[in-house]
């Protein structure tokens, strides 16, 4: 360390003071472009902190401290732009006035920040509403995944025999080819036969579609099979 820089502690102090001044300058930068830039940056930071905390909390539900960064990010999206587009410009204008306005102008930025932090503490302690998103619940709360295998074999006589590996969650099965319904099977375990000669050529290939439907007629699964690809059994 050179003598011009003083002692290490002076160096650190001047570095911290310089950083603090730089931060204050950014904080009070008040041209229209900079207000927009700061507001935009805080919206992005807010989204990042909010979503990042939520996703971490979803995989580590025991980390309850994450509700505070969650609340910080969530409120920052809303309040960050207001603070830099409205509060600070207004405060700087009122500081140049006199009386009550000047007094309010001097306290408004810190007051706004204090209210903001209070809201963060409250919302972090009592997380509610759209602030908390449980990414893990989507899978757990939804219905059963119905995905049975469908096996088909072709006999020498040109009959195609198909069956499902599992019929749970399926009410009936409809087989179609080229817009024509070939078979409707409402009896579990859903084994059915179709004649290859009845399978129509669609887009250059003979193929048929098997639709698994639930009791309301809603589509559960759909399979398309090309006859050329079905092995002979």
């Amino acid at each position: 360390m050179s003598t011009e820089s003083g002692s290490p502690s002076q160096f650190v102090r001047s570095g911290v003071a310089s950083a603090w001044n730089a931060l204050r300058t950014v904080y009070y930068a008040n041209s229209v472009s900079w207000r927009i830039l700061k507001a935009g940056a805080l919206v992005f930071l807010g989204f990042f902190v909010w979503a990042g905390s939520n996703i971490l909390h979803s995989v580590q539900p025991g980390w309850n401290f994450l509700t505070y960064p969650m609340a910080y990010g969530f409120l920052l999206i809303l309040y960050g732009p207001i603070h830099h587009v409205v509060v600070i410009p207004l405060a700087l204008r009122w500081r140049r006035a006199s009386g009550v306005r000047q007094s309010i102008g001097k306290r408004m930025p810190n007051g706004g920040l204090a209210l903001f932090l209070l809201a963060v503490l409250l919302l972090g302690t009592f997380p509610a509403g759209p602030m908390a998103i449980d990414f893990a619940s989507a899978l757990e709360e939804s219905g059963v995944d119905v995905a049975p295998d469908m096996h088909c074999v072709k006999s020498e006589g040109g009959t195609i025999h198909c069956h499902l590996s599992d019929s749970a969650g399926v009410d009936h099965v409809v087989v179609e080819s080229g817009g024509t319904e070939l078979v409707t099977d409402a009896d579990p375990p859903f084994e059915f036969d179709i004649e290859e000669s009845n399978v129509q050529t669609v887009l250059g290939e003979r193929k048929f579609t098997v639709r698994l439907l639930d009791e309301d007629g809603g589509l559960v699964r759909r399979y398309t099979r090309r006859t050329a690809m079905i092995s002979e059994g």
């Binding site: 310089s18 001044n21 730089a22 300058t25 950014v26 930068a29 041209s31 229209v32 472009s33 900079w34 927009i36 830039l37 935009g40 919206v43 992005f44 989204f47 990042f48 979503a51 990042g52 939520n54 996703i55 971490l56 995989v59 759209p130 998103i133 449980d134 990414f135 619940s137 989507a138 899978l139 709360e141 939804s142 219905g143 059963v144 995944d145 119905v146 995905a147 969650g169 887009l203 250059g204 698994l212 809603g218 589509l219 559960v220 699964r221 759909r222």
Partner: protein, 575 residues
């Protein structure tokens, strides 16, 4: 259109730009106008189709039926990822070559032929896509074999790619002529960047022809079979390579516009040139991440491309990420444009849409596009990104914010310095880059969240009701709402650019040559340190840039750690 300019030329066809000091020949200027305006037309068409795509994916609106979605998405992708970009990139080559070197454009007829082929190719692609019927599929950008698209589509792609190669020839000829005349003199940095861009471009375009000519022959019935794995590997030479052209062209513009508009200097010529050379060797290997989920490539191939080679490209990006703001800081400190840590930054001409578009391009590309590109380009992290909406989120951050904003910035100054017309719209021109950048940035962020946090797939018109599936994307609806609203605002911001550009061309008054800063040096600022009284660039403080770079690194580290952490939660390792 070529007569819309307000400038006069001397008997040799040259004029000297009153702002940049560049000696510009009419032949080069004419073609820059032609390619530049055509690219803006492509932006307008692609942007209009963005409305249909975004309003379909926002399922509350659900604008298009599933049958039409892919077709509209195809037009959107080709017009914005290819036509808007490549037409503008040819213009950039002519700026970086003949403009900067003070030469006439050699082989102007070849340039015209290239332009004609590109327009013809674009028209055939559009027609082929728009009129396709079963058994053909809308090709989107990838047109993966063996899915069949119209024969005319493949023909159009070949014609377009050939046109782009032909249009690049006059630029290469100008570099050749320059080096023949001054063999011992280095190219100016902007010309050097454009030259590296052209090499990467030729790699991509020739790779595209090697891919699409056999594909055309296959579709036309001359080849019976085309291997799908071969196609995918070859396709990504052009598929991702075309986007690497964007990257290099964009960075060249960053150097150019921060100098012309903000008074930036080149902090270190050698370092910046080295970074361009690193791109030359490593950037195209970044395409490998598209094949990470394919069975056909070996583990060694994956590891080499997504780690070792990727580092070469990432180091280059890091160098530019420091060098460009550092150059701006040094240049402005030298001119006493603001003291303190960040005075140089907020005294900058933020009301100038050319400048603000450039800086917003740098910021958004770095924070959103660059970081995510590095993460999803890794072999392991790619597993959580692949084929989710986060992938389009990434490339919208690179192309739709980074490159598009840089091209918009350049477009503003093509209007002023090439057409000699001042912008109409006043405040509208000033706010346009902020509106577009902010909204488009949010669109990208939402796409990444939807893809990464919810696993929402890309390319599907609807995901809220997948029959029989345990997947339920309903919790993602609020994010889709932000996405949809931000997309509308972004399209409005993009449309505003087109309105200002076309309005300026038709109704703009003569540009008087004033800039927010003093006249820059025609060599890009490299000679600022040549004079006897000048101080070397590195003698100026770059502490503001250092702090900004540290903020960037910190963000990068947090994002990186978070992505790896999430990946580690996907599978439980051990008993």
């Amino acid at each position: 259109m070529l007569d819309l300019a307000t400038y006069d030329y001397d008997d040799d066809g040259f004029r000297t730009c009153g702002v940049t000091g560049l000696r510009i020949h009419k032949s080069a200027e004419d073609m820059v106008k032609l390619f530049g305006v055509t690219s803006i037309v492509a932006l307008a068409v692609g942007g209009a189709f963005a409305l249909f795509v975004a309003m379909t994916r926002w399922e509350v609106i659900g604008l298009l039926p599933p049958g039409d979605f892919y077709q509209y998405l195809t037009i959107h992708a080709w017009y914005l990822l290819i036509f808007w970009m490549v037409f503008m990139e040819i213009a950039i080559l002519y700026v970086g070559g003949p403009f900067v070197l003070g030469r006439r454009l050699p082989l102007k007829r070849v340039s015209g032929a290239g332009y004609g082929l590109m327009v013809l190719g674009a028209a055939i692609i559009t027609w082929g896509t728009w009129t396709q019927e079963l058994p053909n599929q809308a090709p989107l950008l990838t047109s993966y074999v063996p899915l069949k698209s119209p024969t005319s589509f493949y023909l159009g792609v070949d014609v377009f790619l050939l046109g782009a190669v032909v249009a690049a020839v006059p630029f290469l000829a100008s570099i050749w002529q320059e080096k023949r005349e001054t063999p011992n003199q280095a190219l100016p940095l902007i010309a050097f960047g454009a030259f590296i861009t052209s090499i990467v471009a030729l790699e991509a375009l020739v790779g595209g022809l090697i891919t699409y000519v056999p594909t055309l022959l296959w579709r036309a019935g001359f080849l019976e079979h085309l291997d799908a794995a071969w196609y995918r590997q070859m396709y990504w030479i052009i598929g991702h390579g075309s986007q690497q052209i964007n990257l290099l062209a964009m960075i060249t513009i960053w150097y150019f516009l921060t100098h012309v508009l903000g008074g930036a200097e080149v902090a270190s010529e050698k370092v910046s040139r080295t970074a361009f050379v690193l791109y030359l060797f490593f950037i195209n290997l970044g395409a490998a991440h598209h094949l990470m989920s394919d069975p056909a490539v070996s583990t060694g191939w994956r590891m080499w491309n997504t780690s070792y080679a990727a580092y070469g490209a990432v180091i280059a990006s890091m160098i530019h990420a420091f060098a460009i703001p550092a150059g701006l800081e040094v240049g402005r400190r030298r001119k006493n444009k603001g003291g303190g840590t960040f005075g140089w930054l907020w005294s900058a001409p933020w009301k100038d849409p050319g400048f603000s578009a450039t800086i917003l391009s740098i910021i958004l590309f770095g924070f959103l596009g660059g970081t995510t590109g590095v993460m999803m380009g890794q072999m392991q992290l790619n597993m959580t990104w692949h084929n989710t909406l986060a992938t389009p989120g990434h490339f919208h951050a690179t192309v739709a914010t980074g490159t598009t904003l840089a091209f918009m910035g350049l477009g503003y100054y093509v209007l002023r310095l090439v057409f000699g017309r001042d912008w109409i719209g006043g405040i509208l021109a000033t706010i346009q880059p902020f509106l577009y950048a902010g909204a488009m940035g949010l669109v990208c962020l939402m796409m990444m969240y939807l893809g990464l946090l919810f696993g929402v797939p890309r390319r599907h018109p609807s995901v809220m009701d997948i029959p029989g599936s345990a997947f339920d994307f309903a919790p993602s609806k609020p994010f889709f709402a932000v996405f949809g609203i931000a997309a509308l605002l972004a399209i409005l911001g993009g449309a505003l650019f087109v309105v200002v550009a076309v309005g300026t061309l038709l109704f703009g008054s003569e540009y008087d040559g004033t800039l927010p800063e003093e006249t820059p040096l025609p060599d890009g600022g490299a000679s600022a340190t040549d004079g006897p009284d000048s101080k070397a660039a590195h003698a100026f403080s770059m502490r503001g840039t250092f702090i900004l770079t540290m903020v960037f690194f910190l963000t990068f580290v947090v994002l990186y750690a978070l992505n790896w952490y999430l990946l580690s939660q996907v599978w439980t390792i051990g008993p």
